[in-house]
Symmetry: D2
Subunit: 439 residues, 4 copies
């Protein structure tokens, strides 16, 4: 596919997501961490105007000078930003004006791409497209948060039919490590290498020493999570990190985000999704949990399931996850439950009954790891404002891996590093267990 | 005018206010104290459905059961309320649905009013209409606050031409007190009496003892306010109540709300209005000030203007204000700068040059008084949820009098008691000076 | 008594209050509204040094220049103040140094008073003594708050024996109004007049029009309060002002401050006092309630006790209270349960069984009124920093009357106006009911 | 030294720290992160009573049952805890009672140690002693924070004389890596091994792959920090992590904690220390900085100092730090500026002029690393409440290494992992630069 075709397709996808929404739906910011749909549509356009058109067009003039500040997210190198928590207060420009801006920028991009792009320009455009795909996922997560604030529980899109399937039992899978001394671990390489796009934070490819480990063959399910809740998991400090326990009590957390009791007294839980409210699906992966919850679950689970030769269950490190996932891609990406341009199911699905090996590594839910988001050894942020894209967030964030049901399929890869604070729940975040293999 | 004609006219006026606005403009709540336009349009409809249709229609069924909670403002007697600060998050029902609800309720009201209404029903409908007029003013104040959050400074409506006029010098006017012992004061009566609508909090009419006093012939102007600012009024604790000084420092207040410097370093102030941004108008009344600011100004002004036989300038009590205003109404209401159905100037206007006696008593700006909002002697709140309308707010609020340029003309009267907390600035609040007359 | 004798006696009383306390007890500030005992001891000394010695001593030099800021409470006219919420962080000067400062100032005051004081000086000293008496009460209330934070429930002083007594039934007492038209009300005078000390806010004496009213013969008791609680008073929004209901829910209020359940599940309430924890005493006045609670109680009580010829129960206005109390003083002050220099009972006591007329008007608990704290007609604050003493607090405060068991006996009078925000509970605040007498 | 001798010596040291303090100094908690000295003295005693005496003494009875809750810091396994932010409100038990408790527990410990302790008991006692040493450092840091709140700038102890010395130029030191392929890096081992005490979080010893790196020969100095400030370092978002920049602006940070301008307008900075206020010492290490500041400084420094073959300056990883430090200990511990029982200088000192190799690795200031505090591969928390000691804090914290001038000398070692949130400044935290060595 040519770059211009790819540009057209990805840009169109953003509008497609907004299509079922009213102007009001596109306007509102439901919390400071989320942004209005209209803002997303504008910001991704801002990205192309600022980082592609401005340095490329002779005599560049912005579509509207005020948009440079209004729709700058966090690039200090570009200048001031409208305060993040006040994005929803900007009712003008209206949605139609923002869409007109999109059209105008698209026309200018078409003109630019009429001539062959050099490598630097192509790389910037590709970054803009990857950026827009990230915001496509955020549009869905932020929309879900907004709709969940409405007691009428509005439906974004009806749920397409999907196979239910028999449950897949949990088992451990041990990816092979290099070297003869398997029981002692070995050196592996992670990080992006070779051709194809990757974000700066996936480089450089580098060596890490891994001890023998295993990953669960599938994601933790809503049924397993219900057992954790029924066993008082949210009320027992034993399972929780100190900061997690403080968070549980301060926010009176007692279930994943968007889980609700069928009625006030009932123990029957329902979950709110982009397809509306539905009962808990025991085999489907649990989603919309914080890293604190994921970590607590692993500790609780270990007490229930002791196995000889296995250390306690824990979250995988990002090195372990990538080492295990790399050989499976791209087949697992192709078959995983990710977001395609065509409308699909916008909540995680049960693992395929009978599946062998590592299931659900790509798609369904982002998998919390036990790794803090920091620079890879030898990492260098690119110069200029683009260097702010990923590097300046390397503190107090946790790495997630694998993509979700809301991640564009062509956007994910084994080396992809997503990151959020440990208490973030409004993303499609879930977990897979890991453990040490004891000698 | 018949009640049904009055109903139609007032209901139509609400929609007229919303007409220049987009769905997004109508959706957003810019702060917890303000409400979305859509919410206002829905809430006033809720009022008729809940307090008029429900007890009047046999076999009453609500338009939508969830609206009872969603659009209940604060009536505990009716049941739960959607949290006030989250009114802006309700994107469904959309504006069209809310307008359809209005139409449906209007049709049911027409059916109800096809038969003659008894006195109790007529009183409830009248209350609903007065209530809707209050919200018409709030729609304008809340909209102004929203637009003011937008750095693009959007214009709600272009400003119609209005006469500028020469300045009117400030002078004292001393309303006559009853009794021969004028210098010692006398008993006056305030509160609503006779026919015509009044809110419960304007009753009962009762006696108060007044000492000789004078009111300024006009409102305090933006020019006078600029002198206060130039003299360091916002930086000198001498002028301020203790709570006011804390408020100034905590909020870094240095000018009325919506005043902005022309540019960062400039001493030229502009003000943002529903007609957009314009320079300060020296003769026009200052507006969008808190009671703290009004009170501080009076104290500062007194130091500049000592006059024999006059005590220091202060805010008038509500008894003084009403005693002075009652003889002027209804002529002053008819000629005051209030809001008519036809589009007018939505910011206060200079006093008429050459005017004699008390000018601007009705309209332009609500006048802060020095009176806390409490029950009149013998006050009894009506039974039931309607009793929550005014009575439960009788603490930590200050009375304002006289209506503003955003108050429907037919809504104001001499006995009208508006009330807001001392720090409220987003209403059209200003001040008139008063003083004691010394023997 | 000579002024110097009076000075010695009152100054000694402050130290007497601190005597049973450790240096640590005197150091800690348990909340921003409260102050450390050591700070009180220093601040009252600061008052004499700043307002008496500085203008009186030729070549005045302060004991320590930094104390001027450290122990200035809120007098902007004197200069900067150490931040209120950080008073407890000042461990140096230590208690011994503060006491040494007291001694040094006392010696300078003795020298000053060796010569006859002119009227202005005597008035300033008297103000300093009245000020110190106010802080003597605050020392007790702030200490109670501190000790109440300690789960060990420390005792300040053992409780002296006091008579228990049979209950006194509640009845209405109607103070006579002037004029023949008793049923229509009449003009009364309130405010300080004549000789003797009074604060500026008690002046000028002025006329108010009063309608026929009655006061309860005694304070509301803990037994009556228990009925309010048992009837769900804290859970029913009907009884509450809007701001009060918000306050109840935000703070999860379910009983007076310092009331605690005997154990987690028990309905047996205890109260913590300066004499330690003890069971609720049904006949003793309820204390440590907010104005919101007092107001809600009155509304609840009215529903239980309808009486022909009487309007609903409510809080008295300060005019009503003073009009009723003035004829009783000074006998009622002499016999009331106030604080004497000798140790007494530091919690309110039951009314005397068989007492007739208005009981407990002075002492036991400060009585919340329905009156906002504002300037009396014609009030003028004194010039200079002393003018900040009372005047700058005249907004968002409610008047309380009558003194408490912690108020020095010689400090109270009928015209005395205490004031606190409506949510203040750590003072010895209670209530007496009032009602309109219907024609 | 026998265990009982060691016990006596370390316990005595805690009291020695408190000796110059008043009861008030020992009582106050200056912020929620800090604790009162009295609480520290009590809590370390609680540790021995709870974790040593309770399981060891037949028929164990606690000294005071309430102390179990009052002085439990965060051990949910032991039960409830008095709220952390309210530790300063507990004025009873007084300091004397706490000291009496110390004596009582010491006597019971002496009795216990009269018989030989088995390995498990000895390990628990050693843990208690290491714990008490940690609190000895916290006593000093918390005291410094308290005294810094006092505008009188009280001195804890006069400063002993110390050599000033000529400046030591900054240079890079490259610790050798194993293997022949030096330029490609190699596998190293970190973590505690062998005999001697270590905390659970220092285990297990494990392999990490290191690329060629260098450390600065000394700590970053106050002089260098002044250059960063003079160059606008605190005002330029280029240098800062996003969370760091938010922190700078929200807290208006413009200098290290405890730095103050000599006077309001002056550019001459002073710093407040436990020895009082003194001018900035250009050669002394900067201290009381957050990780955000340390990280920003490194980025700023890199722009000023480009060197061929060296990557940009950054914070060292904890693996790099430990790999470099391990060969130097114990000589560097013996000669480092750490806290000895005898009184010393309680602020960091300049590096020795002419020193070669890595200077100041142990003592002076804790060195921020670029490593998030997480579990070492294979880490297992001990069972029971003791497992809460370190493990439950493994999120949102940064590792610091090397000990400070307030760390007991015998408490530190190369594998020691201290950890604090990235914004913590009240500890003796500073930094040393690191960089990649390019091939």
């Amino acid at each position: 596919m040519t770059l211009i075709d790819r540009y057209r397709r990805i840009r169109a996808r953003s509008c497609e997501i907004a299509l079922p929404l009213s102007e009001a739906d596109c306007q509102v910011q439901s919390m400071p961490d989320a942004s209005p749909i209209k803002w997303h549509l504008a910001h991704v356009t801002w990205f192309f105007e600022t980082f592609v058109l401005e340095p490329s067009e002779p005599g560049f003039r912005p579509h509207h000078p005020a948009f440079r500040v209004l729709f700058n997210s966090y690039y200090n190198g570009v200048g001031e930003q409208h305060p993040r928590a006040q994005r929803g207060l900007i009712t003008r420009p209206g949605l139609a004006e923002v869409l007109a801006w999109r059209v105008a920028v698209d026309q200018r991009m078409e003109a630019l791409l009429a001539a062959p792009a050099d490598a630097a320009l192509a790389a910037l455009i590709e970054l803009g497209l990857q950026h827009e795909q990230q915001h496509q996922e955020l549009m869905l997560t932020d929309l879900l948060h907004l709709l969940a604030c409405n007691p009428l529980a509005p439906v974004y899109r009806p749920r397409p039919a999907s196979a239910g399937g028999a449950p897949l039992a949990m088992s451990w899978v041990a990816p092979p490590l290099p070297g003869t001394a398997g029981s002692a671990g070995g050196l592996v390489e992670i990080g992006h290498a070779g051709a194809g796009f990757a974000f700066d934070n996936e480089a450089p490819r580098h060596r890490q020493f891994l001890r023998p480990y295993a990953l669960a063959n599938r994601l933790v399910t809503q049924g397993e999570w219900s057992e954790f809740m029924a066993d008082g998991g949210y009320r027992d400090p034993r399972w929780w990190l100190s900061a997690g326990w403080d968070w549980v009590r301060a926010n009176r957390v007692e279930a994943p985000l968007y889980w609700r009791r069928g009625d006030a007294q009932s123990a029957r839980w329902q979950s709110f999704t982009l397809h509306g409210t539905s009962p808990i699906v025991a085999q489907a992966p649990v989603v919309h949990i914080s890293c604190f919850e994921a970590d607590a679950f692993a500790r609780w689970w270990s007490e229930q399931h002791l196995a000889a030769g296995h250390g306690p269950a824990r979250l995988p490190t990002e090195t372990e996850w990538e080492h295990a996932a790399a050989p499976l891609a791209p087949a697992a990406v192709a078959s995983g439950h990710l977001a395609d341009a065509s409308s699909g199911v916008l909540c995680p699905l049960p693992a395929t009954a009978g599946g062998s090996g590592l299931q659900q590594m790509f798609g369904d839910v982002w998998e919390w790891t036990g790794s803090a988001y920091t620079a890879y050894p030898g990492f260098r942020a690119p110069p200029g404002a683009i260097g702010e894209y990923n590097a300046k967030f390397m503190v107090n964030q946790i790495v997630l891996r694998g993509g979700s049901c809301a991640t564009p399929r062509e956007h994910i890869r084994a080396s992809y590093r997503n990151f959020f604070p440990a208490d973030a729940r409004w993303q499609f975040n879930g977990l897979r267990l890991a453990c040490d293999l004891l000698g």
